[in-house]
């Protein structure tokens, strides 16, 4: 018998036993993974997945021929599997478990084949072989789509992080505040510098406060980026107040021989704000007689 004939046979067997296979697969998946992901996986959903998956499997084997045997991401079975693993990636199910989820069907079908074809070992061998080849491809496809989906999520996240990361706040007339949070890399540095310079020109920022309380590591790279921003702002005519350098940060900067000698540095943001306000001729005062709890 040829591989094509085995495929046809396999398709018929799957089609005949689809309900049994579906139930067995669902139970198997629930048993092995249900406890690991409580609230994420539920029986109905797996059942629905299993239904489409098994239908497509049987359709695939029915139309099987040498040329079309390679699974493409665009084929119907391919789409079902890659959607499934993409979905899993977004929900935080581990790649190993996703592969297990897809491969579990091999076990269920093989079991069924053994009971059905127990009296013709040749046919059994052929069918298992065809099934094995397909499942190997599906596993690779699962892995591939899982990674792609994960990467997409990561790209989206870093994009959104970039967008919300560096606001320039108009703190008072002619006083701007630039709170830096998180790791400063070249892209972010350029972005906040651009925004800061633009804001300085738009609001005529006489003083700009750069707050680095939220910057976890202060190394040469970060210092250089901030230094460039400071120089550019000073060229526009804005004075710079740096705030929120940690003791460790100060130690590192000094060891690197960076002194920020052309800026005023204050330990806390409030001190920096007071300093900046003084530069524009204002100060914060206590109101006599106002309620103080």
């Amino acid at each position: 018998m040829s591989a094509k004939a085995f495929s046809k046979l396999l398709s018929t067997i799957i089609e005949h036993n689809r309900d049994v296979l579906n139930d067995e697969w669902t139970s198997h998946v629930m048993e092995t993974m249900g406890a690991k992901y409580p609230g994420i996986l539920n029986r109905d959903e797996i059942h629905r997945h299993a239904d489409t998956y098994i239908t497509e499997l049987s359709a695939y084997f029915k139309d099987w021929n040498e040329e079309s045997s390679a699974i493409q991401a665009g084929s119907r079975l391919g789409v079902v599997v890659s959607e499934l693993s993409g979905d899993h990636a977004k929900r935080g199910i581990r790649p190993m478990d996703t592969a297990l989820y897809v491969v579990a069907v091999k076990r269920t079908i093989t079991k069924k084949l053994i009971t059905t074809l127990s009296d013709s070992p040749d046919q059994l061998n052929g069918c298992v072989d065809v099934l094995g080849v397909l499942l190997d491809q599906l596993t690779l496809l699962t892995f591939d789509s899982y990674t792609t989906a994960r990467e997409k999520v990561i790209t989206q996240q870093s994009q959104s992080l970039l967008e919300l990361s560096t606001p320039v706040i108009l703190l008072w007339n002619n006083v701007l505040l630039l709170p830096l949070v998180g790791v400063i890399d070249t892209i972010r540095a350029r972005q906040f510098t651009e925004r800061m310079l633009e804001a300085i020109t738009r609001h005529e920022g006489i003083v700009t406060i750069i707050d680095v309380t939220g910057v976890p590591v202060f190394d040469t790279g970060v210092a250089r980026h901030i230094m460039k921003a400071v120089d550019a702002a000073q060229l526009l005519g804005s004075k710079i107040v740096m705030t929120g350098i940690s003791p460790e940060g100060a130690q590192t900067l000094t060891k690197l021989n960076i002194s920020f000698s052309n800026v005023i540095s204050r330990v806390s943001l409030r001190a920096g704000v007071a300093e900046a306000l003084k530069m524009v001729g204002r100060r914060i005062e206590t109101i006599n007689g106002a309620a103080q709890q």
């Binding site: 350098i245 003791p247 100060a250 900067l253 330990v267 007071a274 306000l277 003084k278 206590t286």
Partner: protein
């Protein structure tokens, strides 16, 4: 020996009474910057009247401390540099101590008061004392 750091309002006062080992000096440096950051001190007075010898390492540590303190927004004044110390400093390289130096502690405090009075964040601490 751990050098005590005394807080006088907005000023931190350090008086070095004996020769420090390299380790003690480093320890003092990290203690001081931590204290500046905790108390938001605006001035630091370092009195080295009792030091007869300041080697290049000690001078460097003093210099680094001054830089760090400035990054944390505190002005530093050094008082009581002995003639012999001053001479050896100049021999070693004149910019070894970049901070302002005065005769004695009293002048250091006056100097700091003057410098702090020009600062914008002086009102902060005043508010704190009212409470």
């Amino acid at each position: 020996m751990r050098v005590p750091i005394i807080r006088l309002g907005r000023i931190l006062l350090i008086s070095i009474q004996t020769d420090l080992t390299d380790n003690d000096a480093l320890c003092l440096q990290s203690d001081l910057i931590k204290k500046i950051s905790d108390t938001e001190a605006q001035g630091v007075a370092i009195d080295i009247t009792a030091l007869d010898v300041v080697d290049s390492y000690m001078a460097r540590i003093i210099n680094d401390t001054v830089c760090m303190a400035q990054l944390l927004g505190a002005d530093v004044v050094i008082s009581g540099v002995q003639p012999f110390v001053a001479l050896s400093m100049v021999e070693m390289g004149s910019d070894l101590i970049r901070a302002e130096c005065v005769f004695n502690l009293e002048q250091a405090m006056k100097r700091l008061e003057i410098r702090m009075s020009t600062r914008g964040d002086i009102c902060l601490k005043r508010d704190n004392y009212v409470q």
